[in-house]
């Protein structure tokens, strides 16, 4: 695989807020989200986003977590793990992050993270992640009220999208735009199951469809599939999308069209929502503990 071009690749990113100085902070909290496809770390200074990293997951969660942390910390002069007061792990690998103080599910974390990223008006969160897709109803504090997860199937998930990208030899980051660059919306492919979508796509291409049309048909199928989760939970405004697929305009636009509700525009990398929520929990829990200590 090494020399071969990897179409599923997406850009790994880091961010540090130049206006802030971690040395001045009372509480430095962090969250690490080890997903099946990507891992992120978010560092908060007194509850404010200071820095984050976003990288690809390997098959070992501890390693993935370490990578995310190294990538993030190397951008921040002087900050080491020891300076972090409290760190919470989330995502699939949450229970396998040796240096985390606590683990919280990605569901609670995405709820809280979305609340920060998009503001307290958010009521419905759609997280389109690597391995699954969830809809979450939250209150103004970012507490999860109820949630739904897709059934035991990868259709309509980030991983599915990557496999499809590999199949069509289209960079995964371009699928969205390409799928919108068409004359008229085609019928959705009959199955989003990546295994069967493969033969179906190959068939369509043979019968003379353009790549864009096939991508459109696939994105549409994915959007329709995700729509079921939204219908079931009954979308209440404001509506926000987190996770990797939120970056795929081809799917976001189609979902918005289907439910007739526009999603809020993200201020940050949508993939960090989980880690962000975890870091906020870390901040809150650490504060609480110290309050108890000082009380005692």
């Amino acid at each position: 695989m090494a020399e071969k071009k990897e179409y599923f690749r997406w850009v790994e990113s880091t961010y540090v807020n130049p206006e802030m100085d971690w040395r001045k902070a009372d509480i430095i909290s962090a969250g690490i989200d080890v997903g099946s496809v990507s891992s992120q770390m978010v560092v908060l200074c007194d509850g404010q986003i200071y820095a984050y990293s976003n990288t690809r997951s390997g098959s070992s969660s501890p390693k993935s977590a370490q990578n995310a942390m190294d990538l993030c910390l190397k951008e921040i002069p002087g900050l080491t793990y020891d300076n972090i007061n409290y760190l919470i792990g989330t995502g699939y690998g949450r229970v396998n992050i040796p240096f985390a103080h606590k683990a919280i599910t990605e569901i609670s974390c995405h709820a809280l993270g979305a609340n920060y990223m998009y503001g307290p008006s958010v009521r419905t969160v759609l997280d389109m992640g690597g391995q699954d897709c969830k809809t979450i109803r939250i209150d103004e504090k970012g507490k999860c009220l109820t949630f739904l997860m897709n059934d035991k199937c990868a259709a309509g998930t980030g991983r599915g999208m990557e496999v499809f990208a590999e199949m069509l030899k289209v960079p995964v980051t371009e699928i969205g735009d390409m799928s919108l660059d068409i004359d008229e919306e085609p019928e959705a492919v009959s199955s989003t199951c990546v295994v069967f979508a493969k033969s179906e796509a190959t068939g369509l291409l043979k019968s003379g469809w353009s790549k864009n049309m096939v991508l459109a048909a696939y994105c549409k199928a994915m959007a329709t599939r995700i729509l079921e989760l939204l219908d079931r939970i009954e979308v209440e405004k404001d509506f926000a999308i987190t996770g990797g697929i939120a970056k795929n305009k081809g799917i976001v636009k189609r979902i918005e069209k289907l439910i007739g509700v526009e999603a809020l525009i993200p201020k940050y990398d949508t993939q960090i929502a989980g880690a962000l929520g975890a870091a906020m929990f870390a901040n809150a829990i650490y504060k609480k503990q110290n309050k108890n200590k000082s009380a005692a």
Partner: protein
């Protein structure tokens, strides 16, 4: 997410479904009986709509409710599972209603035929009835339960006729008689209509007549060569008998069905040109798969025996006494072969095996409905018994009755193609021997 009373009920979707029946009639019916089937279905839907608009009591039921009662009480009525399924199948809104059902917790593994009406009610598409009546069929958990949810969605009263499993006993009959009385009492209370027992006597007499004709039909199927019946029409006559039980239209339909068969027999022709494979259909053939049935014709394959719809027990029919109308209703319920298929295994396996032997079939196709908890579970048992007792092989395929996509049809064709080769092989072996 929550099961709440539906505030706005809008029957537009229901009314849009009615003309589709007409289109189906014009596209698919090649026999007089088929045309009548669609016309009668349309008539029924229109009766419902005018009742809803004109304030005449209207009750909806799951398959197998004794609809003689409607007629004798002057109530408009219709089967919710058949209508919801049929409409959605051809209106292409399956996903919508199934999502609606899923949003109140009804998962895809529930039989789609009994899930569809829940979707229709959850959407507020189904006309609001005065009451809903369902039956345990003969141990169909879905039929026995889904009405509760629909009742809650529309906030209308529900009554369930529980049918004993071992129904042929005196005990079973007595139980059923009491259930019929309770059902009538319930409907009198919820619709304000009174039961006219003379009308009920007349109704049960007409139903008995339908069954007597059906016995004739079955005897003709068994003896006539080539097969005078159009494949897959057993389901249609079944539905008419169910929805027009106790009505002259039902009798006329059965008569027309029989007469057409007789004509073909007289002219020495079968419905399928050059009959190559005479098949027994163990359960119900997916009603939406017109394309597949047409293709089977071109292959010379014909569904001779559909015991689920045709296998009447003459002796039992004779026992029906219209002068004791309530008891007659109970007996009618038990005599309907369809109900046997949801009962004890021995009862319907005998029907399938005997019908296969008497109708001289070459093989069996068991297109059982995906997620049917009764049929699916015994498909292997039926296959083994048919080989042992009737010496024929079976093609077992689970296919959703609410499925008619081209992809699935192709899949089924592939399987049937291979199965025909198996039958050829068996024929050659018999020749050699």
């Amino acid at each position: 997410m929550k099961l709440r009373k539906i505030e706005n009920i809008d029957t537009t979707m229901f009314e849009q479904g009615i003309p589709i029946m007409a289109q189906l009639r014009d596209h698919h019916s090649t026999t007089k009986a088929e045309t009548m089937f669609y016309d009668l279905t349309i008539k029924l839907c229109n009766e419902v709509m005018s009742a809803v608009k004109g304030g005449r009591p209207f009750v909806t039921n799951v398959m197998s409710f004794p609809t003689e009662i409607y007629w004798a009480m002057d109530i408009a009525g219709i089967e919710y599972d058949f209508i919801a399924g049929m409409f959605s199948l051809y209106m292409g809104n399956k996903d919508e209603i199934f999502t609606a059902a899923k949003s109140i917790g009804i998962r895809p593994e529930i039989c789609s035929a009994q899930r569809a009406p829940i979707g229709w009610f959850a959407k507020g598409w189904f006309p609001k009835p005065n009451a809903i009546v369902n039956t345990s069929l003969c141990q169909c958990d879905n039929c026995a339960q889904n009405a509760n949810i629909m009742g809650a969605l529309y906030d209308v009263p529900v009554f369930c006729i529980t049918r004993p499993y071992l129904f042929w006993t005196q005990k079973g009959l007595d139980f059923m008689i009491e259930e019929m009385k309770a059902a009538i009492e319930f409907l009198e209370k919820t619709t304000g209509q009174k039961m006219d027992y003379d009308k009920l006597t007349e109704a049960t007499r007409l139903t008995k007549k339908q069954m007597e004709i059906s016995v004739e039909i079955h005897n003709l199927i068994k003896t006539a060569r080539p097969n005078p019946v159009k494949s897959g029409t057993g389901f249609l006559i079944h539905f008419i008998r169910m929805m027009f039980a106790g009505r002259q239209e039902g009798v006329d339909y059965c008569q027309a069905f029989l007469d057409e068969m007789k004509e073909r027999v007289a002219s020495g022709k079968g419905y399928t040109p050059e009959e190559k494979y005479r098949l027994v259909s163990c359960y119900t053939f997916p009603p939406g798969m017109h394309g597949l049935l047409d293709w089977m014709e071109t292959q010379g394959a014909t569904l001779v025996a559909e015991p689920m719809y045709h296998y009447y027990n003459e002796a039992e029919v004779a026992k029906i006494d219209p002068l004791k109308p309530i008891e007659a209703l109970a007996r009618i319920f038990y005599t309907e072969p369809y109900h046997g298929f949801y009962g004890p295994y021995e009862v319907f396996s005998d029907m399938i095996i005997n019908d296969s032997i008497q109708s001289g079939v070459d093989g069996a196709v068991n297109f059982f409905n995906t997620n049917c908890r009764m049929c699916g579970a015994v498909s292997r048992l039926i296959k083994d018994q048919l080989r042992e007792k009737a010496g024929i092989s079976t093609l077992t395929v689970d296919v959703d009755v609410m499925e008619n996509s081209a992809a699935v049809e192709e899949e089924l064709k592939k399987k049937l193609e291979q199965f025909f080769l198996v039958l050829d092989n068996a024929k050659n072996k018999r020749k050699v021997a």
